[in-house]
């Protein structure tokens, strides 16, 4: 995208889902749908050509599903777009797999248009978690017992640990700064350090990692959803 609008690529095998999403996204002046694909196999080419900021990706598709397309995109594209998985049902086992594969969040197809719009803007901004409560529920369902070291290997400082906890509870960078009486830039630095130490691509991956390692538990509660 050469203008200032957020470019979105729609990937869904059902045309009616694509037209619906397109109509909603294009009703906003700051968003533009740059392309559509009916299968994960078409994604790399379209991403290379249109360089979207966000890909709204269906999970189940006939030949290449959303999880494989996500993995492929994140491992091959340079400066890959943010990926939001679009799903019919929240308790779809594949949704969590997609998040583990590197998707920044997920979106229900039945979400209100306003939620869909804010979800796209949220993942592009990257300074807060998309639907933290839903991610917590998914983490609770998929919690694994083995190999939980509580992120001891990551050597987080006390401040960084605190920041990660607040990230997991759904606070944005600004809210974290207010909560901890820190400057916004300092919080951003801490978040950057946390991501680097965990080897996480973005906020969502770091939080998923925090849940999986037992560093935060799904029962800790979320202050904002």
């Amino acid at each position: 995208m050469d203008d200032n609008r957020i470019g979105v690529l729609l990937v869904d095998d059902e045309q009616l889902v694509r037209t619906g999403l397109r109509a909603i996204l294009e009703s906003e002046p700051d968003l533009a749908v740059v392309g559509e694909a009916a299968d994960g196999a078409e994604v790399p080419g379209l991403v290379a050509r249109h360089r979207p900021d966000v890909v709204l990706m269906d999970v189940r598709m006939p030949s290449v599903d959303g999880i494989r397309a996500t993995e492929h995109l994140l491992s091959t594209a340079d400066r890959p777009p943010k990926i939001v998985v679009v799903t019919t049902f929240e308790n779809d086992d594949y949704v969590y797999d997609a998040l583990r594969a590197g998707a920044s969040g997920f979106l229900l197809k039945r979400a209100r248009p306003e939620e869909i719009l804010s979800a796209v803007r949220t993942v592009v901004a990257g300074d807060s978690l998309l639907f933290p409560a839903a991610i917590r529920r998914l983490a609770a369902r998929n919690a694994r017992g083995a190999g939980r070291d509580g992120l001891r290997g990551a050597n987080l400082t006390e401040r960084e640990s605190e920041v990660l906890r607040l990230m997991a509870s759904g606070l944005s960078n600004v809210e974290i700064a207010e909560r901890l009486f820190l400057g916004l830039q300092t919080v951003k630095t801490h978040v950057g350090n946390v991501l680097a130490k965990l080897g996480a691509r973005d906020r969502t991956q770091a939080v998923i990692e925090a849940y999986e390692s037992g560093f935060v538990s799904p029962s800790d509660g979320v202050r904002r959803s």
Partner: protein, 433 residues
């Protein structure tokens, strides 16, 4: 110093004492003993006609001398046993036993079916009846005699005689020297309680073994249950996939319509059209699934197999679909399970044609091939709905599952301008039935 410890030890041994006492007196205080007793006495009462037959009818018919008591006893007993065994096979016996066991032995065989049963089940129920009558007779006899003896034993230290036996009362010393008599009979009475509890437990186990479903029946029961569960899951998935999906599209398109209504009426109109279509398709799917559910509830009758194929074809033709059918296979040549599944697969194929392509001409082939059964259903791709849905969908998945279970092969897809589903099933099914 060690006082608390010792107190603990004492209370522990007190506990053990209580445990022993409960062991000894348990059957006396337990309600189930008395219910078992009623069950056993019932057996004793049922034994009365057989005892009468052995004691009165057999000796009066057979030329036996009154001196030869042993052989009279033997012959009478044998005669009574033969009649008992014969009558145990009467059909009402099983129902009677089941009713008595349900009421008095706490229903150890809840899954036992009442109603008509196989010959083998009747024999097993007969064995239960015989055991009930014989054990019941013994316990009943003891239950009649012991209380009388107990009364006499308590009187003996005072009267000096134990009034039993045919040769007049037995003389015993008066006073404490005969105190062991009531004690011994009290002990015997206690043993009787234990015998009742034990015999009841024994007959309960016998009931489980003889009146409960046999291993084969149990397997069949389990299979039926599994089948029902699989069917339910299939329906749930179908609802999930079709209706849930369509409603998602409806809500999404409705949101789009709302946001574009003023600025872009054309887009809004298209969205409304999509909503209309999706809702209609969802209702069709709902109809289909609810139809299956109703069918399942009504469908206690044996499932249709290939032999019922002509009826299915004429029903499909009646629905307005032109079917060109060619059946070159004997329904009897394949295992029943394969025949049933083949029927269901063809049924689903025809339903899918109606749902997705509409009333188009269908070609249906059934043939024996490669030591199995080959099913082919072919129809021109309908113009009406195909763009809205992507290919086969849920119906095809159901077929794939059936094929998979039997270890067959499935090929489905476009063949030129036609849609074709081709299935091969091994004649014996996987592992047979």
């Amino acid at each position: 110093m060690d006082l608390p410890l010792r107190r603990e030890a004492r209370s522990l041994s007190f506990c053990e004492d209580r445990l022993v006492i409960r062991r000894i007196l348990g059957p006396v205080t337990s309600r189930s003993t008395y219910r078992r007793w009623v069950f056993l006495v019932l057996g004793g009462a049922l034994s009365a006609p057989y005892v009468l037959f052995g004691a009165v009818v057999v000796p009066s018919v057979l030329p036996l001398s009154t001196d030869d008591l042993a052989s009279a006893f033997l012959l009478g007993g044998a005669g009574a046993l033969v009649v008992l065994a014969a009558t145990s096979l009467l059909p009402p016996v099983r129902a009677l036993e089941l009713a008595a066991i349900r009421e008095l032995l706490d229903d150890p065989v809840p899954e036992a079916a009442s109603g008509p049963v196989s010959g083998r089940a009747r024999v097993r129920a007969g064995a239960m009846f015989v055991a009930h009558v014989l054990v019941g007779a013994l316990i009943s006899l003891a239950s009649l005699m012991l209380p009388a003896f107990l009364g006499l034993a308590f009187a003996a230290p005072f009267t000096g005689s134990f009034g039993a036996g045919t040769d007049g009362p037995l003389l015993v010393p008066r006073g404490w020297a005969s105190a062991w008599l009531p004690a011994a009979f009290l002990l015997a009475m206690l043993l009787l309680f234990h015998a009742v509890a034990g015999a009841g437990a024994l007959l309960t186990r016998a009931a489980v073994a003889w009146l409960g479903p046999s291993a084969a029946e149990r397997v069949a029961l389990l299979e039926r249950r599994t089948e029902r569960l699989a069917e339910r899951n299939r329906l749930a998935r179908e609802l999930h996939d079709s209706v849930g999906h369509a409603l998602s599209v409806v809500s999404l398109q409705a949101g789009a319509a709302r946001r574009t209504l003023r600025r872009d009426p054309d887009t809004a109109e298209r969205a409304l059209e999509a909503i209309e279509e999706s809702a209609r398709a969802a209702l069709d799917d709902l109809d289909h699934v609810l139809g299956l559910l109703r069918e399942e509830r009504a469908g206690r009758a044996p499932q249709a197999g290939l032999a019922e194929l002509p009826a299915l074809l004429s029903a499909t033709r009646a629905a307005g679909v032109e079917v060109d059918s060619e059946v070159r296979a004997e329904a009897a040549a394949v295992a029943p399970v394969v025949s049933r599944e083949a029927y269901r697969i063809l049924q689903e194929c025809l339903t899918n044609v109606l749902r997705h392509a509409g009333k188009v001409p269908v070609t249906l082939r059934v043939a024996e091939a490669d030591g199995g059964l080959e099913l082919t259903v072919r129809n021109p791709v309908g113009a009406a709905r195909d763009s809205a849905r992507n290919g086969g969908g849920s119906g095809l998945r159901g077929i794939a599952e059936r094929v998979d279970v039997l270890g067959g092969r499935l090929r489905a897809g476009r063949q030129g301008r036609d849609w074709e589903v081709a299935v091969w099933l091994p004649a014996g099914g996987r592992g047979g039935e």
